[in-house]
Symmetry: C2
Subunit: 352 residues, 2 copies
C-alpha cells in the first residue's frame, strides 16, 4: 500500500483494509453510513462487507448522472436522519463520481458538516474526482452547478474494485491517467506508452503517480483560479464532443470523448504552442491504439464551437484551451480561433 | 463608524455607506444581487437604494421561518442563474436571520461558492446570526439541520434599519445583548442595567461591545466544539419555553423566551454554581423591567423537560446547561436535575 499525504488528509492506494479498519477504530464515529447505488450495492458492497463486517447503515440511491440532483440529495439527508446520524458520524462514499460528489456534498451540509470518506470504485473516480475537494450536484440543467469545496477525511483506493468494471469503463478512466502524464509527468508517459493491453495493467502502481499530478495541481490552486486549468487539457473539445455524442444512439464515455479532445488539442498545441512533431505523433498513435476511432464528422462543427463557447472557463468571447508545449509541460489560458479548431477536428477525422 | 477585524472579514457598525460603496468598487463583482423578503423589500430596500443606486438584481423570497426551506433555497439558486450570476458575483443578504442564514447558504453553494455580504436589518441578526459563520435551512422538521460554516466577505450593520422594527422585535434582539454582557462583559452589563427605555438607546454604541463578545467566542471555537456553548446561556430552558409557546395563541419571540430562560438559568447558577445573590437579583430585576411576565405555569413541566432532553448539545442523558458563576463569567457543560429545573420554573412563575 502507498500513502499520499495531502494538506489535511491521506490517500491510501493498494491493499488498504488494515489501514481502513485502524482509521475507523481511531475515529470512534457514533454511526458509520455507507452510500451505494444499485451497481455498487452488488459487487462492491459485498467485497466491502467481507473485509469490514462492523455494524453500519446502508444508504441506497439510484445510479447515474441523471440522479445527481437535489432530490436525491434530500433522500440521502432523510436517510441520515433515519440512521440517527450526527456531526460525529461518517459517510463512506462507495462508488463512482456521482456517489462521491453527491455523497460528499450531502455529508458536508448535514448538520453543517459530518465527515465523509471516499472509497472510489471506478478508475475514473479513483484518479480524478476523489481528489480535489470538488463536490456537487447538477441543477437547472447545469452540471455540478450547486456544491461546495470540501475535503474527505481520507480516500481509500484499491484496484480490486476495478474487477467489477467493464473494459469500456476502464478505458474511460484511463484517459485521465494519460492526461495527467501528458501535462506533468513525462516519465510516466514513457511507461504508459508501452502499454498494449489494459487488462494486464497493475493499476495500483499506475494510479499513484497519476494522483500525484492531480495532488500537485489542486494543492497549488484548490479553488480553480489558475493552475488548476492545467487539468483541462483535452476537455475543451472533449466536452463538446461528449455533449453532442450524448444526443446520438452511440454516446461516448467521458474518457472516450477526452481521448478525442486530447488528439485535437495536441494538434492545436503543435500548431500554436510548438509541441514537437515527434511528441505529437506519439500521443496520437498511443491514443488510437487504446481507443476506437469515432465518427465526429456527423457533428456540425459550428454547433461544436458554440458548445465550446459556453464553457465556464472562458473569459469574454475567447475559447479557453490548455495546451502542451511538450510532453510533461502545460500552458494554461491559451486560445484558438474557430478556423484552427475546425482544422483539428478534420485532422482527427482523417486518421485511420 | 466602528470596524471590527475578524480572521478573514470585517464588521462595520454605524454609518457604513461610504465604506460599503468603496468595498463594492474594490471588489469589482460581475453581478451584485440583493436578497430581500416582503418586509425588507419595502422599508429596507428603499433606504438601501437611496444610498446605493448602482445596478443590481433583486431576489425576493417570502418572509418567515416557515420558508427557510430547501424549496426556497432552490428558488434563490434559480434566480441566481436567471441573473447570470457567476463565482465572481456577490449576494447581499438584506434582512433578518432567515435571509442571512439561507442567503449565505445559497451563495456558498452556488457554483461551489460566490461571495455573500451580510446586511442584517433586525437587532437580533445584527448582534447574533450575522457573526459566527453558521448558515442553514430547516429540513425534516429540524431547525438549521442542513447548512455549512462559511464566513461572509463583510458585514454592514446600521441602527438606521432598526427604525423599521416594532418595539417587540427590538426587545427580542436585546435579549442576546443582555446574554453577551452576562457571560463575558461585566462592564457592558453595568451600562445596560441603567437602561430604562429601549426607544432612546444609541444602538450603534451598544452593538459593538456585544459583537466583540460573540467575536471572541466564535474565533476560539468556530465549529462549536467547546467554548461556543457559552452562547447557550438562557437557551436550554428558553428554547423549550419558546417551542411550547409556539403552540399557543400567545407565542413568544425568541428573545422573550430567552429572557425567561436567563432568569431560570441564573436561578440554577445561584444554587448550583455559586452566582452571588446580588448578581442574581440584578439580573432578575433588570429582565423584569424590560420584558413582561409570561404565564409558563400553563405548560406541563415534564413536557418542557422532555424538550430540553432533545437538545443537540446534550451528551448522553444529561441536560446540558451554561451557567454563570458571576456576572461576566461563564461555565459550560453544566447540568441540573429535573427537580432543580422545575424549581427554577416555579421561581420565575412566582415573580411579580
Amino acid at each position: 500500500m502507498t500513502t499520499l499525504q495531502l494538506s489535511d488528509y491521506q490517500i491510501h492506494v493498494g491493499d488498504f483494509w488494515p489501514t481502513f479498519t485502524d482509521f475507523l477504530n481511531e475515529k470512534k464515529y457514533t454511526h458509520i453510513l455507507v452510500l451505494v447505488d444499485e451497481h455498487t450495492e452488488g459487487a462492491c458492497l459485498d467485497r466491502f462487507r467481507s473485509r469490514f463486517p462492523e455494524k453500519m447503515h446502508t444508504i441506497r440511491i439510484p445510479s447515474g448522472e441523471v440522479h445527481k440532483t437535489i432530490d436525491t440529495c434530500q433522500k440521502i439527508w432523510l436517510d441520515m436522519f433515519a440512521a440517527r446520524a450526527d456531526r460525529r458520524s461518517a459517510l463512506i462514499c462507495l462508488g463512482g463520481g456521482v456517489i462521491g460528489d453527491m455523497g460528499g456534498l450531502a455529508a458536508s451540509t448535514f448538520k453543517r458538516g459530518m465527515d465523509f470518506i471516499q472509497m472510489p470504485t471506478t478508475l475514473l473516480s479513483q484518479v480524478d474526482s476523489s481528489i480535489g475537494g470538488k463536490l456537487g450536484i447538477d441543477f437547472a440543467a447545469v452540471k455540478n452547478s450547486i456544491g461546495v469545496f470540501a475535503n474527505p477525511k481520507a480516500v481509500f483506493i484499491s484496484s480490486e474494485f476495478l474487477e467489477t468494471l467493464s473494459p469500456r469503463e476502464v478505458r474511460s478512466g484511463f484517459a485521465e491517467i494519460i492526461k495527467h502524464a501528458l501535462i506533468a509527468d513525462a516519465e510516466q508517459w514513457a511507461d504508459l506508452s508501452k502499454i498494449d493491453d489494459l487488462t494486464t495493467v497493475d493499476w495500483d502502481k499506475i494510479i499513484v503517480p497519476s494522483l500525484k499530478v492531480k495532488q500537485h495541481v489542486v494543492e497549488i490552486d484548490p479553488f480553480e483560479r489558475g493552475l488548476r486549468k492545467a487539468l483541462n487539457f483535452g476537455h475543451t473539445i472533449g466536452h463538446a464532443v461528449e455533449s453532442m455524442a450524448l444526443e446520438t444512439d452511440n454516446p461516448l464515455t467521458h474518457g472516450e470523448a477526452i481521448a478525442i479532445g486530447m488528439i485535437c488539442e495536441a494538434y492545436l498545441s503543435k500548431i500554436l504552442r510548438g509541441l514537437p512533431e515527434a511528441d505529437f505523433e506519439e500521443i496520437t498513435q498511443f491514443i488510437l491504439k487504446i481507443y476506437d476511432k469515432y465518427d465526429i464528422q456527423q457533428f456540425d462543427s459550428q454547433k461544436l464551437i458554440a458548445l465550446m463557447r459556453q464553457d465556464k472557463k472562458n473569459d469574454g468571447n475567447e475559447i479557453n484551451f490548455t495546451f502542451l508545449p511538450k510532453i510533461g509541460e502545460v500552458a494554461v489560458n491559451c486560445t484558438a480561433t474557430p478556423q484552427y479548431i475546425i482544422e483539428s477536428l478534420a485532422f482527427y477525422s482523417q486518421l485511420s
